[in-house]
Amino acid sequence: MAQYILRKLLGAVVVIAGVSLLVFILTRVIGNPVDVMLPLNATAADRVRLAHQLGIDKPILTQLGEFITGVFHGNFGESWYEQQPALSVALERLPFTLELSGIAMALALIFAIPLGVLSALRPRSLLDKVTSTLSMFGICVPNFWLGLVLILIFANTLHWLPTSGVGDWRYLVLPAITMAVLPLGRITQIVRTAMLEQLREPYVVTARSKGLLEFWVVVRHALKNAGISIVTMSGWELGRIIAGYAIAIEAVFGLPGIGSLVVDSIGQQDFPLIQALTFVIATCITLINLLIDMTYPFFNPRLKFK
């Protein structure tokens, strides 16, 4: 088990290093921020001065060396626009996104698991058909657009909820729903498929033959075995929220999370900040995957002994 975790950790480090290196190469070798930061009529001397100031006039290998030593000290340099350490700028925005995506995930799971289980218990019933159709829609509708439509309906027309920004819980309702729809669809589908598979297993009949309440047969016996697929999909979706959905959704609702910071830093070509953001997001994803992996032995005890 320890060896298994160690191998997973090693993989996580490789992924984080790979993404960081890729972004490093993209930004330092191909891109040139001086062009963006200075007005078009800037003199050559201005350009050299700025390049020197940003430290991008050194040989690329020196830059890489500095970058790597920096990373080991948790130092990604100063954000060019915020004049603060890039990592702390990025980390400052993380809790908000984690909170929002946590709420969205919880929302998705609360609906997805019962809906998926009920659909699997009564395949081809009306409930199953409605659920399947809705989850398909949830997967296909672009969520940033859905956010706009929800604003149009619930904020601009009905005036039930605020359009955007931060404040009390009401400001989180629409973003959380928008964020939850896609994971909800995907997780519902996976719960249904996994449960259909498990409910066909003979151990389910054994459990029934003991006189167990059908609810417990389904929840305690079948759902636990379907758990690996469900947990895996949920982990992936949580990762996708943080690394993807949050970017557009936070932009739509004007929310101060890591996603809108990604959009801003890219707009400003703030390389140290982009680097720090990539690192933080990649670390989040790999940590989530690692946590998911660690739940596997609970669902499949075979793994405890490997």
């Binding site: 003979p202 151990y203 054994t206 033959s209 006189g211 016996h221 758990g227 669902f299």
Partner: protein, 347 residues
């Protein structure tokens, strides 16, 4: 001629299945008559064998007794199942749950997949105990260990914490037996309990079922397609064919004087040491499609004695002599004492 069995004929049955009809609605809208008017009974502490090819309805009958037929598509189209003078079909789901695992329990064919891979075997035995007995968790665990000891699992206090994948097929089947017997059921239904196992293990498990039965005092309904197993352990045999009971008899009667041509066919398929034959005789043809059962006697397309009457009229289940029942025009033609089906179950 007085049979020693005659006295047994007056013992009240523990469970009687009376003219049971378990149908399934097929996806195309038709009706599949998996069990179509089956009658049988089992007495307390008796070992009854049910034999038949796969698809004869023997497993569906067993599942019907525990009311474990998935519905839809399955449903009861008629008949009754009476256990200790109470109709099981009339019971509510809640009442049924109190019977399952306590009064009637079941051992299944697949020891590999019939245990939940995600829980320890101890948990799965304890689950059954705690459902039906008011005991603490520790007491249940002790009881589970005792049961494992009873079924001959070495160092049971350790193995009780094992997961199914840590055990061999034979071990798992022992666990299944331990689980099924943990609440001292009055009836144990064993559905092909040895089919998936190695031959040597098969004998051990059969031995085990017989031994523990004596300790626990259950009646056993042993479902099998293996007449050899029946000859070894059963007192009486029910032969099923295409959803119907075609013959019921005491084991030695059945083996020495099979009354139904199908039984005859099954028996001649068993190789015997005292005979030399060039090839095994098997019953020619195959079991009919349950969605399109033949008219008349269901066995007639495969029967060498079939005549016009067999092709058009279904033979009733009659008793040519005490303890024997057969559904064949030849048998009912030879000796009288005709009886209707419902009466069979009362016997």
């Amino acid at each position: 001629m007085k049979q020693p069995h005659d006295i047994l004929e007056h013992v009240t049955p523990l469970l009687s299945v009376k003219n049971l009809k378990t149908y399934f609605r097929s996806e195309e809208g038709g009706v599949i008559k998996a069990v179509d008017g089956a009658s049988l009974h089992i007495r307390p502490k008796e070992i009854l064998g049910i034999v038949g090819e796969s698809g004869s309805g023997k497993s569906i009958t067993a599942m019907s007794i525990l009311r474990l037929i998935p519905s839809p598509p399955g449903y009861f189209a008629g008949g009754d199942i009476v256990f200790e003078n109470e109709s099981l079909l009339a019971k509510t789901q809640k009442e049924m749950r109190l019977i399952r695992g306590k009064d009637i329990s079941m051992v299944f064919q697949e020891p590999m997949s019939s245990l939940n891979p995600a829980y320890t075997v101890g948990y799965q035995i304890m689950e059954n105990i705690m459902l039906h007995q008011k005991v603490s968790k520790n007491q249940a665990l002790e009881h589970a260990v005792d049961m494992l000891k009873l079924v001959g699992i070495p160092s049971p206090e350790k193995r009780v914490h094992d997961y199914p994948f840590q055990m061999s097929g034979g071990m798992r089947q022992r666990v299944m037996v331990a689980m099924a017997l943990s609440c001292q059921p009055k009836l144990l239904i064993a559905d092909e309990p040895t089919t998936a196992l190695d031959v040597t293990i098969q004998a051990q498990i059969l031995r085990l079922i017989l031994d523990t039965k004596d300790k626990v005092g259950s009646a056993i309904m042993l479902i099998t397609h293996d007449l050899g197993v029946v000859a070894e352990v059963c007192q009486r045999v029910v032969v099923m064919y295409a959803g119907k009971v075609v013959e019921v008899a005491y084991v030695n009667e059945l083996f020495n004087h099979p009354a139904h041509p199908y039984t005859e066919g099954l028996l001649s398929a068993i190789p015997r040491l005292d005979e030399t034959r060039d090839r095994l005789t098997i019953v020619p043809g195959s079991i009919p499609n349950p969605a399109r059962m033949p008219e008349g006697c269901r066995f007639h397309p495969r029967c060498q004695y079939a005549d016009e009457r067999c092709r058009t009229e279904q033979p009733p289940l009659v008793s040519p002599k005490p303890g024997q029942w057969v559904s064949c025009w030849r048998a009912s033609g030879v000796e009288g004492s005709e009886a209707d089906v419902a009466a069979t179950a009362e016997a």
